[in-house]
Amino acid sequence: MKRNGKRPSNETDSLHPLETLLAHVSEESVDPVDDARADVWACGVRAKLDTQLAALRRQLNPARPTPRRAARISDELIALDREELLARLAVLRKIPEVQIAHLELSGLTTDDLRQLVAEIEATERTQA
């Protein structure tokens, strides 16, 4: 089959008559026992190919990291106002493992503060 004006490889080859014959006789199945074995073999090869093709696809489209789900905000935190949240955050900051990147907490909304406290407490629970 010729595509895009290019010559496929099999058209450039020179064949011995026995090679030509071999190509034709190979199209005939003459041994039912071997046919059964061929079915099993083809199935196994196809399964391996599927694995290899899946790996190639993953290489093209690497899986994106699953976005981290935000910590759930408890009813208790929802009930706290801004001052109470800041007080709670101050307590959390005394824990050595807790480091808060936000230096200017005044720039955060109350909801942001609530989320921040929830995240820190969730992390603390995970590490405990």
Partner: protein, 214 residues
């Protein structure tokens, strides 16, 4: 499997860019590498085993096909789906490697064919290899000529198979060419091909007869 695990055979220094197939390439391979194609390749490679040597049979054919498939997926053998269908590409590679194995088997008669490195194809760029005449052609191989003559003698009572074989000897390659030159109908062509296939299987298994044997 990573396509860039190792450099291609003709690029030991790893200078060639690693093979990273496109989505279209992967889809084309996936769609064209059917069970039917795999079984056809296996039969083709197993037929070659009869010319290669030893009691390699199906094991040789299966291993050869598996290696050719893997090398194509790894980009060791380049396949361009825009130029050629997968099956003829794989058939051509199987033929090149089987030729090489047959020549090695003839050269090193007492070495098992399995001892030859299946990855050491020497034929990376199929187009270049064929253009340069590497690995073929076999048009003047006396041992293979004799095998054809053996077959010709076996079909002496079957005029269709005889004409089929004679057409091939005269250079017909494709089914239409053989049918035209041998003056065979489609049914006669298939019947003759089946007969030849049975006879081919009955031919002495193992390496094609050496000059000493003949």
């Amino acid at each position: 499997m990573k396509p860039d695990e190792q450099p291609p055979e003709d690029d030991p220094g790893g200078l060639r860019a690693p093979f990273v197939p496109s989505e279209a390439w992967i889809e084309a391979f996936d769609a064209q590498c059917t069970d039917r194609t795999l079984k056809a390749l296996r039969r083709y490679a197993a037929s070659w085993a009869r010319l290669v040597g030893g009691d390699t049979g199906n094991d040789y054919g299966e291993e050869l096909v598996q290696t050719v498939l893997t090398d194509t997926l790894r980009g060791v053998i380049r396949w361009d789906p825009d130029v050629e269908e997968l099956e003829p590409h794989l058939i051509a590679i199987v033929r090149l490697r089987a030729r090489r194995d047959r020549r090695n088997a003839a050269r090193y008669e007492h070495v098992y064919i399995d001892a030859f490195d299946p990855d050491d194809s020497g034929f990376v760029d199929l187009e270049a290899a064929l253009t340069a005449g590497v690995g073929g052609p076999e048009q003047t191989d006396p041992l293979m000529d004799r095998k054809v003559a053996e077959l010709r003698a076996l079909v002496s009572t079957d005029p269709h198979a005889q004409r089929f074989l004679d057409a091939v000897r005269q250079g017909a390659i494709t089914k239409p060419q053989i049918m035209r030159l041998a003056a065979l109908t489609d049914l006669e062509f298939r019947s003759a091909r089946r007969r030849l296939a049975r006879l081919f299987v009955q031919l002495t298994p193992g390496r094609i007869l050496s000059t000493e044997e003949g």
